[in-house]
Symmetry: C2
Subunit: 396 residues, 2 copies
Amino acid sequence: MSNIPKIVILGAGYGGILTAQRLQKELNYNEADVTLVNRHDYHYITTHLHMPAAGTDTIDHARVPISKLIDEFKIDLVKSAVKDIRPHEKKVILEDGTLSYDILVVSLGGEPETFGIPGMKEHAMTIRSINSVRLIREHIEYQFACYKNDNIASRLRFVVGGAGFSGVEFVSELADRLPRLCKEFDVEPEKVELYNVEAAPTALPGFDKELVEYAMDVLKNKGIILRIGVPIKECFAGGVIIGDGERIEASTVVWTGGIRGNKLIENAGFEVTRGRVKVDEYLRAPGYDHIYIIGDSSLVLNKDGRPYPPTAQIAMQQGVNCAKNIALSIRGKHLIKFTFSHKGTVASLGKGEAIAIVNGKKWKGWKAAQLKKAVDIRYLYVIGGIPLVLQKGRFF
Amino acid sequence: MSNIPKIVILGAGYGGILTAQRLQKELNYNEADVTLVNRHDYHYITTHLHMPAAGTDTIDHARVPISKLIDEFKIDLVKSAVKDIRPHEKKVILEDGTLSYDILVVSLGGEPETFGIPGMKEHAMTIRSINSVRLIREHIEYQFACYKNDNIASRLRFVVGGAGFSGVEFVSELADRLPRLCKEFDVEPEKVELYNVEAAPTALPGFDKELVEYAMDVLKNKGIILRIGVPIKECFAGGVIIGDGERIEASTVVWTGGIRGNKLIENAGFEVTRGRVKVDEYLRAPGYDHIYIIGDSSLVLNKDGRPYPPTAQIAMQQGVNCAKNIALSIRGKHLIKFTFSHKGTVASLGKGEAIAIVNGKKWKGWKAAQLKKAVDIRYLYVIGGIPLVLQKGRFF
C-alpha cells in the first residue's frame, strides 16, 4: 500500500471534470491517487441539453465519453452512482462498493427545485441529464403520434414552467421544433399551443431590461404564449393550474424553474440552504479541511452578499481553483482564495437568435447567436482541445 | 345538371386507387362523374407499413399523395371520412356532407380482428394506417426513454401477437431495430425481450413447410422468442397472458392476428361473415347491382370453397375488374366474372432476408428479399409509372 493521499472526485460535470483534468496536469507522478466517480461513462454538456430535449439536435452533440477527457493511466475512473457520503468515516458508499478518501471533491450537480408546488415533482419533466432530455423529446413526439389516433387536444398543448435561463432557451428551441413535428405527423400547426409560465415579474432575471424585452419579442414572434408574473399553483397529470385558477390542460409539462443542491449533501449532514453548502473562501465545507464542494451544490456569495447563480461558468472556475488548492494542500502550502470572474452571459433563443452581455457590452440577434457558438467551442477546447472541437463540430 | 351516372368510390387503398385509375383510363369524356372519397389526402402502401412501424424506414416511403395518382380533372377527390352507407337511399354520409351515387364502389379496407380476446382491442396497437404505425414507432421509442428514467423492466419487453404474414414481417423488422434503439438509448441489449405469439399450430399459414421452417430459423437467430401454437388468453394494460397462464409483462403489445371487414359495411345492413360480404361473381353485393365491394371487406371463394385471404394482390385485381365492369354496365354490356390469379407470395424477414413462392417455385434468403423489392417496385410502377418508382426510390 502506498502512503500517498487518496483524492476522490464525485461527479464528472463541469466542476468535476475540470478538477480531474487540472489535477492530472498539476500533480507529479505518485504525488496522489485520484479517482473520478460518475454514474455514466460520459460527461454531458448541460448548457446544450435544451436542444436534444426539444429534438433540435442529437444527444451525441451534448456528451463526450469521459475516457476521452482524462488520462486513465493517471486517474481511476469508477462508473457508479453515489449512494451516501460519510464525512466522519472519510468514506463514500457507491451503488456497488465503498471508497475511502483523504481528500474529497463533491461535484455532484444539483436537483430541480420545485418550490413545493403541488404535483410538480411527480408530474413535470425536467432538463437535467441525458436520460431526462431523451424522455422529454420522446414524450413530445409520442404526444403527436397519440393525437393522430385519439384526437385529445391537450396532447398538443405544451407548458414550460419557468422563464429563467433554461426555460427561455428550451421554450425557444421547442418553438422551432413544433412546426416540424406538425409537418411530420400531419397536424395543423394552429392546433398547437406552447406556454411559457413564470412567477417572477420578469423573465430572464439578471439580464438587462432592453435584452429581456428583445427576448420576449423573439418568443412572441415564435408564437409562444407568455405568462410572466403568473405563478403555477399546481401541476397535475394532465396539465397545470396557474395564476387565479386558469387551468391549462397539457399532457406535456417541463419544469425549468430552479435548481437546488444535491440531496446527498444534505443527507451527509452538511448544513445547507436549499440543499447547497456555503463553502469557505477555499471552496471547502465548513469544518472539513479535506472536503471541497463545487458546482450546483455549493453556495458562493458575491461582494453584496448575494449568492452567485449556479452556472457552468462558476463550476468550471471552481474546478480549476479546487485542483490548485488540493495540490497546494498536499504540498503543505497556503491555499488560494476562490474569486469568480464573470466573463459574461449568453442565452440562446433558438436558431440564429440570442442575447448576450459580455464585458458589459450588449449583443442580440445573429451576432449574439455567434457568441453562443463561440462560448460552446471554447468549452470544448478547454476540456478536449482541438480534437474535441473538430469531433463535436456539427454541434454548431 | 348532367344526366350521366355518378360513380362514388369509397377509400383509396389498393382496390380503390386501382378502380379510380382504371375508370379514368377506361371512361370517355362525359360518360360518368367519378368521385373518390378518402379520409386522408394520401394513399398508403399497407404492405410496407411494418417498416415505419418498427422504425426501420420513414413514413414517407409508405405513402403517396393521391393527387399524384389520379387526374383531378377527371376524378373529383373528396377528403372526408365515411360515416354511413345508405344503400336504400343511394347515399353516403360523410363526416362533412352527403354524397349521392348511381354506382358505388366500397373499398374501405378492413379492421383488426381480435377474435374476442379480452382486452386486445383496448390495449394492443395495430398496424393498419399511417397514424397507427407512427403510434407504434413512437410508443416503442418512448418505452426506451422511460426505461432510462424509471427502470421498469416491462418497458423493454415487446409482444407481437400473431405470426401470420404481417406479424412475421413486423417482428423481423422490429428485431432489426431493437439493437439500434439499445445503442441510441444506452440500454444493454440482453435486457430486451421480443416475443412472437401465435395460436395456430404453425406460423405463416399458406406457406410451404420448408419455407416456414427457414423463416422460423431466421426469427430465432434474430433472438425472437417464439411461442407458436400458444394462444393469447388476455391482453391487459401492462402485457398479455398466454397459453396455460404464463404472464408476460410488456408495455408494448402489437396485434397482427387478423383482419375483418369494415364495420361500416355491417352497419349498412349487408349480410356479413366476420364483417365481410360474400360478393357475387362480378364483385357486387348480393341484391345490389350497383354496389361493388372489393378488398378486405369482400369475400371471394376459391375453387375449394374457401375464402382467399385478404391481400393487396387480390384487392388490386378486384379494382381492375370492378372498373371494367362499371364501364361495361354503363354501356349496357355483359359484365365479366372476377377470377383471382395468384402471382405468388413474398414475406420479408427483415433486412436482406425473405421467403417467397412465385409460380410454384420457392425462394429464400437474399434472392427472396430481392423479389420482395421487385414486387414493391412493380406496384409503384402500376400506380404511378416510372416517376413514382424514381421518386420513392429510397424505398428499396
